[in-house]
């Protein structure tokens, strides 16, 4: 019983959200299930950024690049299933280029979609963190990167179909029959739960505490015998892996991926979800992503003309009045309640000691 009481309040929220998501498809139309499935993929994406920004304090403004790498790999794979796709023949390519041949196998595409962001994060991380780039400079470099990556995707029209993106990505067909939306929804949910459990373990471990120490006072950590750059690189790689995974799951649910999904706008959207939900506790990533995305969908359905204005005002209000985010505020309340009770105890104890002396 005392153990149960020690569980932080946000873990109960996580459990509640999970139960809700488990029964959600039973009570709603299929297009809502598809929407929610997409949002759960976004949750995975948001968790990956939470590791990097919320825990380690590295605010990436180009995280959608890593998401997009996963998404484009799987999209490219399925667009090449029926031979050379139209956007390639239009550019005069009549046979699938040899470096793309392995991608025709979905398993290879999935592995590529996971490893590409990891390798990318490893290389970039080595450059940035070894040369002690940090703070706002990390943000600016990743921001530039998102723009470059989007331009790259648009320019490589013969491989990426440019502006239009890759469409018609099926939901991981088995023997040519794609998974139903409901089935695929539960697969995304299962992966999300696994990612959540992994991140929970990781952030509870000493490794996770080192990550938070980097956020709080990186220089101090060096004097304790740690090499912060190594930790930052590894965290960036883990975050890249999870972001890639989110992209792989997301793309078949929406049928495709476009350069908009890897743009600066997409990258900053995740930052907003995290800011609304609260950083550095995983729950904030979950709650923030689901709340903002639902608000966005419902508002755009009811107030087609000025929904962005309403959403903008709500977001500003949250960031202004509760800078720790919704979940951050709840955790803070619980912490303060416990600490105040403890303070009362300590003061009472000190007073009784003083009394004994007199």
């Amino acid at each position: 019983m005392t153990k149960l009481k020690k569980i932080p309040i946000n873990r109960w929220i996580d459990l509640g959200v999970l139960l809700f998501l488990l029964v959600f498809p039973l009570f709603t139309q299929t297009f809502r299930v598809e929407m929610m499935g997409r949002f759960i993929a976004y949750v995975i994406f948001a968790i990956s950024l939470d590791l990097l920004w919320g825990y380690t304090g590295l605010m990436s403004l180009g995280h959608a690049v890593l998401f997009g790498m996963g998404g484009y790999m799987i999209a490219l794979c399925y667009s090449m299933q029926g031979g050379v796709p139209a956007f390639m023949t239009r550019e005069g390519i009549n046979a699938i280029p040899s470096f793309l041949v392995p991608l025709q196998t979905p398993a290879v595409a999935v592995i590529a979609g996971l490893l590409l962001p990891v390798v990318f994060a490893f290389i970039l991380g080595n450059f940035l963190f070894r040369s002690k780039v940090s703070g706002v400079f990390f943000s600016i470099i990743t921001l530039a990167l998102a723009q470059i990556f989007k331009d790259f995707i648009i320019n490589q029209q013969k491989f990426t179909n440019g502006f239009n993106g890759l469409q018609g990505v099926p939901r991981f067909p088995i023997d040519g029959i794609p998974l139903s939306k409901i089935h695929y929804y539960y697969i995304i949910l299962l992966v999300a739960v696994l990612v959540y459990l992994f991140c929970l373990w990781l952030t509870k471990s000493r490794f996770g505490k080192v990550a938070v120490s980097i956020r709080e006072n990186e220089a101090r950590l060096g004097f304790l015998g740690y090499k912060p750059a190594n930790f930052k690189i590894v965290i960036y790689m883990i975050s890249g892996f999870i972001a890639g995974l989110a992209g792989i799951l997301y793309t078949p649910m929406t049928n495709g991926i476009t350069p908009e999904d890897v743009s600066v706008v997409a990258s900053t959207a995740v930052l907003v979800w995290l800011a609304v939900g609260g950083r550095g506790n995983l729950t904030g990533a979950i709650v923030g992503t689901l709340c903002v995305n639902w608000a966005q969908s419902l508002l755009s359905e009811s107030f087609a003309d000025y929904w962005q204005l309403i959403l903008g005002i709500i977001l500003l209000a949250i960031v202004f009045f509760i800078p720790n985010g919704l979940v951050g505020k709840v955790i803070e309340k619980q912490h303060n309640f416990r600490i105040n009770r403890k303070r009362v105890k300590i003061t009472a104890f000190n007073r009784s000691m003083k009394g004994a002396e007199v």
Partner: protein, 246 residues
């Protein structure tokens, strides 16, 4: 007693300004050495060079028989086991008191060790013992940002203890403390002296008298005097540049 730390002809320039100039010093194993000197005497810069924060422009630093001149802070802390408490508390603000000590615990600083680290009873007892020594056990679940200034200073002393360093460097550990807290800090430092070698810089002469045995006086980057506290206090030069203000 052999010298644990041996400093030869150490100096550093900052764009022509010589902050520390040709300092020679030997500190024996198990000694408490107090470094005093007016503001700008080069005390903190000296510490920065020993702990790898600042690279000396000349001279060498030998620690435990190894030349550690110009090595990285992480290496000096991890491999050679020199722990440092900074001037003004330098702690992890939005982490609990307990976590601050835990993260400082020695021997688990590689990525692999942080992933396989298991908080068993032995480690918990060790952290508990440190928290009791620095009088923060009751407040272990507090965020360190919720502590008073003096308690934050103690927390950082606790972090240095958790590193189990051979040499502990304390840069003005009592800055901003009440007289009572300063006295308690002195007792903590004396308790540490049994197991560790300690270098401490300080302005508070009551504190210096409480803990000191040998004292080194720095002035304008140069070593002005060195010896037992009673001798140094009588040194006319020292009185002129430093002690007269008291």
């Amino acid at each position: 007693m052999g010298a644990l730390l041996e400093i030869k002809d150490l100096g550093v320039d900052f764009g022509g300004f010589r902050a520390v100039d040709s300092v020679n010093m030997k500190i024996g194993d198990g000694e408490i050495r107090v470094i005093i000197g007016p503001n700008g005497a080069g005390k903190t810069t000296f510490m920065d060079m020993v702990t790898g924060k600042t690279r000396p422009t000349k001279g060498t630093i030998f620690f435990n028989g190894h030349n550690i001149t110009g090595k990285e802070p992480g290496e000096i802390a991890g491999k050679y086991k020199i722990g440092r408490k900074f001037q003004g508390p330098n702690i992890f603000e939005n982490m609990s008191v307990y976590q601050n000590i835990e993260i400082a615990l020695k021997g688990y600083t590689s990525i692999w060790h942080t992933l396989t680290y298991k908080p068993n009873t032995r480690k918990r007892e060790r952290i508990k013992a440190i928290l009791k020594k620095i009088k923060l056990y009751d407040m272990k679940d507090f965020m360190s940002s919720e502590l008073s200034h003096g308690q934050r200073q103690w927390l950082e002393i606790g972090m240095v203890m958790a590193q189990s360093p051979k040499l502990i460097i304390l840069d003005e550990p009592t800055a901003g403390m009440t007289a009572d807290e300063t006295h308690q800090t002195g007792e903590m430092v004396k308790e540490l002296a049994g197991e560790h070698t300690i270098i401490v810089t300080e302005h508070d002469m009551d504190f210096v008298r409480q803990v000191a045995n040998r004292v080194t006086v720095l002035h304008q980057g140069k070593l002005l005097a060195e010896g037992l506290l009673e001798e140094v206090e009588k040194n006319p030069e020292v009185i002129q540049v430093y002690l007269k203000e008291d």
